[in-house]
């Protein structure tokens, strides 16, 4: 197999890697906010349960969660296994990343001094207005570096989808490496991941700069 064919095959896989990446972000970023709000709920039961769920999602390997989401229903209830593996893969990734994002959001929200809430109340803002117009814009600025960290990790974590035989870039890389007894596909895949992350880094840097409007 020539280097070109190899690269083309891997690039096909890169499309599926991108699908996991963007769909995961699409679902996990908002879901993380919901989880963060539940986690900070004044109701002890709600915050306790959320805390427990987060601890499981952060305390067990993502690979295990992938297997559980994909094959768990079959072993537990005799249900079918999804033909399109993108669905269980994105579900597992989105849930897992939402747990991490939730904790980042919580850290950001709790870093805002209480005085701002009091001031907003004096000025006649409702609770929702205070959160959306005053707290959230500051939170977003503060947590962006941490979010970038997670997003960069996500790019690399997509390779774990090989455990459920989803044909993303790493899975294909493994298959080529195996049939050609060669390490080259892994090097090519490594370059692809690195470039992908370079783009992510650049984009996040731009967003950070744009939000830095007080300086």
């Amino acid at each position: 197999m020539t280097l070109l064919t190899m690269t083309v095959k891997l690039a096909e896989g890169l499309g599926k890697t991108c699908a996991i990446f963007f769909l995961t972000l699409l679902f996990s970023l908002p879901l993380g906010m919901v989880v963060a709000l539940l986690r900070m709920s004044k109701n002890r039961l709600i915050s306790g349960v959320t805390r427990f769920v987060i601890s499981i999602l952060r305390g067990t390997p993502l690979m295990l969660q992938l297997l559980a989401v994909t094959y768990g229903p079959y072993y537990l209830f005799g249900a079918g296994v999804a033909r399109n593996k993108l669905i269980p893969v994105v579900v597992a990734f989105a849930i897992n990343y939402a747990a991490y994002f939730a904790e980042i959001y919580r850290g950001g929200i709790e870093s805002i001094p209480v005085g701002q809430y009091e001031a907003a109340e004096v000025l006649g803002y409702t609770k929702l207005q205070t959160f959306v117009r005053i707290i959230l814009p500051q939170v977003v600025k503060r947590i962006l570096p941490s979010i970038t960290n997670e997003v960069v990790t996500l790019v690399k974590d997509t390779s774990m989808a090989f455990t459920v035989s989803y044909q993303e870039m790493f899975t294909i890389g493994k298959q080529i490496a195996n049939s050609q007894t060669s390490f080259t596909p892994f090097l090519v895949a490594g370059v692809f991941y690195y470039v992908f992350n370079g783009v992510v880094d650049f984009a996040m840097g731009r967003i950070e700069k744009r939000l830095n409007y007080y300086q």
């Binding site: 094959y71 249900a79 296994v81 999804a82 033909r83 035989s165 899975t171 195996n178």
Partner: protein, 268 residues
């Protein structure tokens, strides 16, 4: 302070030297004791798998253990990552790959020492009971799973490429279990797999049938690093002795899914 440091450093050096000395002694006293590490796929019943007692077992493992006992060697099992088995062999993580491994021409070309074949294998199709697939001709437009790094995968990419082209989709799975789970869960219609593995799975798990059609003949052998011909000869000699004293047949009798008709040494 400096003095203390120098003293500690000197002490550390002495300890290192002492450690070297002691290992040397141990090695010379135990020079005749060879430790033989067999590399196996830990998920390849009935040839090699994790037994009920938590120890690796299976036909190949038992034969190797008996051969090592005969040779007076220490015996160890090392679980390899199947699609990287030859790299791990080269790296010295194990001394051979012996785990229902199909002999491929590419292995000989790459210089590995390959033993005499000991098992005639065929690839078959495993389907769900009551499936409308009764032969490979029915596979057109169906979804088929095969395990990564198996000879079945190589076959579908090469000799049986035309057959593979008729599939709706060929899913390359990460383990046999994941192939079988995909089949059970209905995301694929058939699994292309080695006969003994399929037979063992169908025997353990109701609801699956092996289709009686041999799709490719191949033979199992043992791979050693290039230059390890002596090691290969020693193992082959020990196995020959196990065959002649009946131990080999005894071990084979424990694994009903391995047909004695296919065991080359029992048919000589």
């Amino acid at each position: 302070m400096k003095r203390v440091f120098a003293f500690v450093l000197a002490l550390a050096m002495v300890c290192c030297l002492a450690a070297c000395g002691s290992t040397n002694n141990a090695a010379s006293a135990d020079r005749d004791k060879v430790t033989f590490t067999m590399g196996v796929d830990p998920e390849y019943p009935p040839f090699s798998y994790l037994g009920d007692n938590g120890q690796y077992t299976g036909f190949d493992v038992e034969v190797c253990a008996a051969a090592c006992e005969l040779l007076g060697w220490d015996f160890q099992v090392f679980a390899v990552n199947w699609d990287e088995k030859l790299i791990q062999l080269d790296a010295g993580e194990c001394d051979c790959v012996w785990s229902g491994m199909t002999i491929l021409d590419s292995m000989k070309e790459a210089g590995y020492v390959i033993s005499q074949p000991y098992y005639d294998n065929t690839q078959v199709l495993l389907v769900k009971e009551g499936s409308d697939i009764t032969s490979s001709a029915d596979l057109a437009g169906k979804r088929v799973a095969v395990m990564l790094g198996t000879s079945g995968e190589a076959m579908l990419a090469d000799d049986l490429a035309d057959l593979a082209a008729s599939f709706d989709d060929l899913m390359i799975c990460n383990s046999f279990l994941s192939c079988f789970t995909e089949l059970g869960g209905g995301s694929v219609d058939a699994v292309f797999v080695d006969l003994p593995v399929a037979a063992a799975y169908a025997a353990e798990n109701p609801g699956f049938t092996v289709i009686n059609e041999a799709l490719g003949a191949e033979q199992y052998g043992i791979a050693f690093r290039s230059g390890d011909q002596a090691l290969c000869d020693a193992i082959e000699g020990a196995v020959a002795e196990l065959v002649s004293n009946g131990t080999y047949a005894e071990i084979a009798a424990k694994y009903p899914d391995i047909s004695p008709d296919n065991l080359v040494f029992l048919n000589k």
